[in-house]
């Protein structure tokens, strides 16, 4: 169960999630400070620790469009946020999967800021309205990376396997 702490519309770009002027900051340990920097109020609440891990950003279609900057995924992951969106842009979705940021594709979801959502593999249930919305499972290609614990362990296993086979 998590609370919707930020509600956004369609086509939220990575320039909004993580403005370009902070791109010289790259390490996942340092990027969270600039999450939603141009939404100063929300950024302030994140930095002040007022937002619990597991809280939800609710968005419309095409969340994370634009730049491939991985900071847009790592900065949200740093706060343990969950993104529930009607759909995601390709590179952002892949970056989220690779880094282990929780993302949920829910094409019909309806909720407002403050609502409590219960998320399972098959549905998002809005506890505040009582409505349930089906979840679109991630493609198997992405689920395999999540099951491995992210792309780094996934790639590490492949690397070891291939070097062993080459020996």
């Amino acid at each position: 169960m998590g609370k919707v702490v930020l509600q956004l519309g369609d086509d939220i770009s990575t320039d909004i999630i993580y403005p370009g002027r902070f791109m010289a900051t790259v390490l996942p340990t340092e990027t969270p400070q600039h999450a939603f920097a141009d939404h100063p109020e929300f950024n302030q609440r994140l930095r002040a620790g007022e937002i619990q891990s597991g809280s939800i950003i609710l968005a419309g279609h095409n969340f994370g469009c634009g730049s491939s900057r991985e900071q847009a995924a790592s900065c949200l992951k740093g706060y343990g946020l969950v993104v529930v969106a009607r759909s995601f842009a390709r590179i952002f979705l892949q970056n989220a999967v690779n880094l282990g940021l929780s993302v949920v594709i829910c094409p019909t979801v309806e909720a407002s800021e403050g609502d409590e959502l219960e998320i399972s593999a098959t549905a998002v249930v809005n506890r505040s309205s009582g409505q349930s919305y089906p979840v679109t499972p991630l493609p198997p290609a992405q689920q395999a990376i999540i099951d491995a614990g992210g792309l780094i362990p996934y790639a590490r296993a492949k690397l070891v396997e291939r070097r062993a086979a080459a020996r």
């Binding site: 770009s13 320039d15 790259v26 730049s67 491939s68 892949q94 780094i152 790639a155 070891v160 070097r163």
Partner: protein, 431 residues
């Protein structure tokens, strides 16, 4: 049933005969490009090797290209330190295709790749930049990835778990009218498709207009396909592709079997027709790239800063179009004009042909090649309430560094004509 161009390329790169949209594949990568964010890639790359007992070595030092372009010369000590780390990594690994901050070889990654022959037809190209879609202009399957994904490519030489994209076929017929450019064509198409209309798909370009178009124009088209959400854009290689590779990219060997075409009975998820002869110059209005209007609808909008350049429209023909309009004239008082060529090779050619002089005498500031102003990270920031008109590729809120400003996108001709008047202007009205 036949194959689309991308299905054929991925078939070659995996050694599988029957690769179809929706399949999951691990294609061999022919070129892996990064810019300053190589600083993050190398961090993740070292992580992959942690605990394996293996020495961190890139899979192929000749298939990695690293180009500094986002903040050049460095705007802060932080950037300079990142660049230093990358330089040390490049030296330690012996990476051969490295373009440092230099007037003889530097530039924007999406120009450096084609002009140096780092992209070939039928190749799989990945880049840690969303505009890596550009290189489909040369018949490659070329797409943007994140830094961690690139780290896996550096380690393994393959792109992991790629879902083969479906394809939208776009057929463009008819001649672009004078004053109308490839940029207008792609803006029009993005307006029709919307910012998410091509999500997870490839846009394959066909038709007489494309066949007659230069590689520079094709690069502009493919560059911006990502603004409709596309995984990539692609143009089947033809005579023009061969001409570009031989004459402009110095490539002598182009194997016949890399000049692939899609099959006539390939399956397309969507087909679109565009009549180029009816287009007028287009403008993408704040704050989304799909908010596209004909120039007549926004003509007269006051503009404080004109920007001509970037990976989208910073090539020689773009500067030529701008110089032709501004030669012997002046940028309007109260309007600043910034020009940043796509590479130093382009800069030099524009210098030799007199375009740089034309632009300077008109009042433009000609800057070094780089990405800085386009994404608001280095020079050319906007003041509160100011309006920019740019030949770049994105106009998201805050894109040029100030969420209290507005950005409109257009072709080099519209930008140059508007520089003369200080307001958005149809270039056909100033000649």
């Amino acid at each position: 049933m036949g194959f689309t161009l991308v299905e054929k390329i991925l078939g070659r790169a995996t050694g599988q005969r029957d690769v179809r949209a929706g399949d999951v594949v691990e294609p061999r990568v022919s070129m892996a490009m990064s810019h300053e964010n190589a600083a993050l890639v190398l961090n993740q790359f070292q992580e992959i090797f942690t605990g394996t007992g293996l020495e961190p070595r890139v899979w192929d030092r000749e298939r990695i290209a690293i180009i500094f372009d986002h903040r050049v010369p460095a705007e802060s000590s932080k950037t300079a330190t990142n660049q230093k780390k990358v330089r040390e990594f490049v030296a330690a690994q012996g990476i051969t295709r490295f373009h440092d901050i230099r007037g003889d070889e530097g530039g924007i990654c999406h120009q450096i790749l084609p002009e140096n022959g780092y992209v070939r037809p039928a190749w799989v190209v990945v880049g840690t930049d969303s505009h890596t879609t550009s290189h489909g202009a040369l018949g490659a399957f070329s797409f943007g990835i994140g830094a961690t994904e690139m780290a896996a490519v550096w380690a393994l030489g393959r792109a992991l778990n790629v879902t083969v994209p479906g394809t939208i076929k776009v057929v463009v017929e008819g001649e672009l009218r004078p004053g109308v450019a490839p940029k207008d064509l792609i803006l029009h198409l993005i307006g029709r498709l919307t910012a998410q209309g091509a999500n997870f798909k490839v846009i394959e370009f066909h038709g007489e207009t494309i066949r007659r178009m230069s590689t520079s124009g094709r690069l502009t088209l493919c560059n911006m396909t990502v603004e409709a959400g596309a995984t990539s854009g692609i143009v089947p290689p033809d005579e023009e592709t061969l001409r570009y590779l031989r004459e402009e990219a110095g490539v002598s060997e182009i194997p016949e079997d890399t000049l692939l075409s899609p099959d006539a009975d390939a399956h397309y998820q969507e087909e679109l027709a565009v009549d180029a002869s009816t287009l007028e110059p287009q403008v993408a209005c704040p704050h989304s790239v799909d908010n596209v209007k004909p120039v007549s609808a926004v003509a007269g909008t006051r503009v404080h800063q004109i920007v001509i350049g970037s990976c989208t429209n910073g090539r020689l023909d773009d500067l030529e179009a701008a110089a032709a309009i501004l030669r012997g004239r002046k940028v309007a008082a109260g309007t600043r004009m910034l020009v940043f060529p796509a590479s130093f090779r382009v800069y030099m050619a524009a210098l030799e042909r007199g375009y740089v002089g034309d632009l300077l005498r008109a009042g433009a500031v000609v800057m070094n090649p780089g990405c800085g102003p386009c994404l608001g990270v280095h020079q050319g920031a906007l003041g509160d309430g100011e309006v920019a008109l740019a030949t770049t590729n994105r106009n998201f809120k805050g894109r040029m560094g100030n969420p209290k400003s507005e950005v409109y996108l257009c072709s080099p001709a519209v930008a140059a004509a508007s520089a003369l008047t200080g307001a958005i202007t149809d270039p056909r009205e100033v000649n």
